[in-house]
């Protein structure tokens, strides 16, 4: 048995842990959990925990529905919200087939495979996400439009900013779980908040995003409120995005850094950026996977629907931050279209694959776009060679379907299941009569 597994067994015993939650993620990016007792832990390390995957989104197969959850001992954390008399802990799992080969439907394995491929070329992939979300009074759509906590007469007894208080408690809990927070603040919109996580390797980042979404929701729920990562929950108010900062390291060297370049970007950095941009249309169905995602992308603000890059241009898809001198390790690019309702394992897989394709094929980076792209019409943008991102989930799925890069990165199983699932979501949406239509057409026609 590995030392880190021994460590987990010992900690479980010493801390009197009663329940160990084995976490994994379905193809749509929802966190799932199988709970085991300490008595089952050693066997879980040795043999894995077998369960029926047929009810998990994206896990079903034709011949065999059982899979094995293999706990990753390095991800063992006590859950800070568990009660004193019943401590519990979690570990992320990798999912295997019964013959112990990696299960193709497991998003974490997909990211692991892509990171290993990058590693074989000498690269490690680091990322830092900026996660936005709203606090509402309720998550029940039947009570009407979501009410932001700040404006709802919700906590009448308190005068302080209730939602900022929730955010602070969230950050303490994240830090207690070893997830360092870089910044956090109140966003422009009522009850909208942002939490920026520190740089780490992409697999840990994806795990951290899964943990963050749970912790944010949990803390809100404990106060009787509701936190939402829905990309565009309110009309006329900026939606929630998840800008991600990306960089590649080769050993200790930041591959993107070149101090002599006016943008501070190396050849490989430019090629990676070119790859991310060139394949952006193909990867959007995954980075923005909801019908609702495209309502955020159509707003004229922080959500950039145009495939361009710049140093300081909020309308560009990729921002190359201007860096202080003498910090080569912080060279990075910021990819601004993803939203916090994506599956982070799949989204990071595609960003990495697209960027590495740029490097391996030696893509050329187009010129920087410093004009505000929102102010141009589509003829002017077309004249500049600037394409828009897909405007709907439907269009995004069409582009994704013809992408050999996305298929290779996700693997056939997830690629095909995702398209089937999302096509069906789109067709349900398309055949639904919306409040917009009723309000607009019923009085007139």
């Amino acid at each position: 048995m590995e030392r880190d597994q021994q460590y987990v067994l010992r900690s479980v015993e010493e801390r009197g842990v009663r329940l160990i939650r084995l976490w994994f993620t379905d193809v749509l990016g929802k966190l799932k959990s199988v709970a085991i007792t300490p008595a089952e832990l050693e066997a879980a390390f040795d043999e894995g925990v077998q369960f029926d995957g047929s009810s998990i989104d994206g896990f079903s197969r034709v011949h065999e529905s059982d899979v094995l959850a293999r706990p990753d001992a390095t991800s063992f954390e006590l859950l800070p919200w568990a009660t004193q008399d019943e401590p519990s802990a979690r570990m992320f799992c990798d999912i295997q087939n019964l013959d112990e080969t990696p299960f193709d439907g497991d998003p974490r394995q997909v990211l692991r495979r892509n990171l290993n491929e990058a590693r074989a070329e000498g690269y490690s992939f680091f990322a830092a996400p900026e996660v936005e979300f709203f606090y509402f009074a309720s998550g029940d759509p039947s009570v009407g439009k979501p009410q932001p906590l700040d404006s709802a007469s919700y906590f009448d007894l308190t005068t302080a900013d209730v939602s900022s208080n929730l955010r602070k408690r969230t950050i303490h809990m994240l830090e207690a779980m070893g997830i360092p927070v870089e910044y956090s603040f109140h966003e422009d919109s009522p009850s909208q908040h942002e939490i920026d996580l520190r740089y780490t390797e992409a697999l840990d980042v994806a795990d951290n995003i899964m943990t963050l979404r749970l912790v944010v929701k949990k803390i809100a729920m404990d106060s009787g409120a509701y936190a939402s990562f829905m990309p565009k929950p309110l009309n006329g108010v900026q939606g929630s995005g998840m800008h991600v900062h990306l960089s590649l390291f080769s050993g200790d060297a930041n591959v993107f850094h070149d101090g002599s370049d006016p943008y501070g970007l190396s050849e490989a950095g430019r090629q990676f950026t070119a790859g991310v941009l060139r394949h952006a249309r193909e990867t959007t169905a995954v980075t923005n996977q909801l019908v609702n995602s495209y309502k955020r992308l159509s707003e004229k603000s922080e959500a950039p629907p145009y495939i361009a890059w710049a140093r300081n241009n909020r309308s560009a898809l990729v921002r190359v931050p201007v860096r202080r001198r003498g910090k080569p390790s912080s060279a990075r690019i910021e990819y601004r279209s993803p939203d916090p309702a994506c599956n982070p394992y799949l989204a990071f897989s595609l960003m990495l694959s697209a960027g590495l394709r740029g490097i391996s094929e030696g893509y050329e980076l187009p010129a920087e776009t410093s004009t505000n792209l929102h102010e141009l019409n589509h003829h002017e943008r077309a004249a500049m060679g600037i394409e828009p991102l897909p405007r709907s989930l439907d269009e995004a799925l069409d582009v994704m379907e013809s992408s050999e890069l996305v298929r290779a990165s996700l693997g056939d199983h997830i690629f095909e299941w995702f398209l089937r699932n999302k096509r069906s979501e789109w067709s349900q949406y398309q055949s639904t009569v919306t409040p917009f239509e009723l309000e607009r057409y019923l009085p007139t026609w």
């Binding site: 880190d4 801390r15 063992f76 994240l174 207690a176 070893g178 927070v181 520190r198 840990d204």
Partner: protein, 225 residues
Amino acid sequence: MEPLLVFPDPVPPELAQTLDIGGWAWKAAVDVAAARADEPADGWVGAIVMAGSDLEPALRFCRSVHNGEVSVRSLLLLINGGHLQSLDPHHDLFDDFCLHPFHPQELEIRLKHLFRRGGQTDDVELIEYGPLAMNLETYQAAIDARPLDLTYMEYELLKFLAAHPGKVFTRETLLNRVWGYDYYGGARTVDVHVRRLRSKLSEEHANLIQTVRSVGYSFGRSRWG
């Protein structure tokens, strides 16, 4: 603690790693002459002799120890399973043996049993520094008597740093000593774990681990500063 003698030199990486992680000081010797040259004033506390595919060089080394050419208090022999048969007539040459490839934990237990018996050396089971306490037997850590929930690597990193207060380590050294020699990922891994540790130590105690600019990290206060 006085170093252990390890034969042969170079020491296989998995053995070096296990010794380092276990916090053992050691010195490798290429032959008997080297072992004698480096011999501490009152002899070696212990020796680990590792046999390769040929058992004979290791046995020769053991015989020299047995004959008193090198002074060693206890000797642990590492052999592979194929040599078990031929070990029979040589029982007097070693105090304990362990099969190679070894299980790091088994080796650790045997080393402790053999070389720390009778309080010959200080058996560090507890590290205490200011508000921090670490119990190395139970893998538990606490700050201000509040339990710290650490992952294995966070625990190992904190243990290593706290065992050497005031000493500055480069990221490379930490990577080698805590993660092991074949760890992929570079010194950024160290930064990431230090950040995680600091966030768990909470703001109040985050400065227990200090960044030493353009060098690396140190724990606590230097005894010189």
